[in-house]
Amino acid sequence: MISTIEEAISLIGDGTLLAVPPDYAGVSMAATRALIRRGGKGLRLVALPQSGLQADLLIGVGMVAEIETAAVTFGEAGTGPRFAAALRAGTLRVKDATCPAIHAGFQAAEKGAPFSVMRGLIGSDLIKVRPDWRIIDNPFQSDDPVALIPAIRPDVALFHAPMADRAGNVWIGRRRELVTMAHASRRTIATVDRLFDGDLLADETLAAGTLPALYVERIALAPGGTWPLASDKAPTDAAHIADYVKLARTEAGFAQYLDRHILTPQAA
């Protein structure tokens, strides 16, 4: 259960459908850097419901064949630069979605249901680029079109959380998209800031924010593992992100970023 990051990410192979959280909910940047150092190809990313630095890096190094997401965003700095470049170059397939549709797809998988139903969407061009979605007439009411979103069942979910105990229970607090992500995915890898001595389920207050070990395959210790993204204790390293966005505008700048922050052995 408890392993090194390198051993943990061995669950992620070429072609894996990999679920990742948004920048604010606990992105395992430590595991992402380890993944880039290790290499691999053909990843299919699915963001619940959007991504930023993590997706942009994995796309930039050419490890991603496809991404399903509601956005690849750097906030005020706009679209992920390597994401945009890969699309322009035609080297990346994008399954554009909207946040609640991705939530709905994960929730269908969580329930073992073949699909979810949602309002909205009718008349959006997302319908045109998503032939895997369906519009049907609501069987309960006449002349009422509704959208159906098929279940999204990732091979692996990868995220970072504040702590885990040695039995594999992970404290996620109020970041409950991580619970849904783990439920919907076949396997889950969590990196954590620290190990909790004791049983997270023994105390009702902690249990309320705990993902049970049943859903977790690997836990790796990675203190501050969301850096440069926000964690429950630290805000986003805005200067680092600004630097990334500037560098990543070009292939050469991106390579420089990789070299400086990921491929050098001292980087975590």
Binding site: T73, D96, A97, T98, P100, R174, R176
Partner: protein
Amino acid sequence: MEAEELLIGLVAELIGDAGHVAVGANSPIPAVAALLAQSRRPGMRVSLLSSRRHNFFTDGGRELFDCAGQGRLDAFFLSGGQIDGQANINLVGIGDPAKPETRFPGSFGSAYLYYVVPKVILFRLEHSRRTLVEKVDFISAPGTSPENVYRPGGPIALVTSLCRFDFDRKRGRFRLASLHPGHSLEEVRDCTGFDFEVSGELRETALPDPAALALMRGPIAAEISEIYPAFAARLSGAA
């Protein structure tokens, strides 16, 4: 800061008496406007999604959308890389979506919230023929829907650096409602890629009153410094 203060006052007016208003990330002007609107109506709930203190959600990222679907969210802000005259918004890109010339970040929650939130305020400062177009290249979310589509919500207005447009849902068209001080109808026509009506009572956008200015420069600037430190500093420095 005068331009920003004007926009804050305008947006607060558009929020009106909404029971619950939510503001997404990277939106300092709507955030301050929401808190200003709240100061006038103490029962109002304001969710600043990028704040920890002003964000009461505890059910993960889906709760905003579920809350809206339940009819518990009355006002929200959307923008667009392109916005057209029918209030269609494009957050995806220009050109073939599979191989776009320009790629925007993505549709976020627009293809749902635009349908279910009663007061959606479109907020796009850049007022140009590049952003305000006749027809968007990609409809992330449509401004209007046929009668048979479930749609309790939709756009009420578009706020830019030049003016306020109100949206007429029945006619599916914008109507110029007020011009910000120093701007003219001619300038707006020049910079807008779509046709629009002009209100018979076209006014100048009103400046916030001294009480509102004191609030935004004082307690509200302090409150948002958690998430927008630079903006808060400029706002409180404007006093």
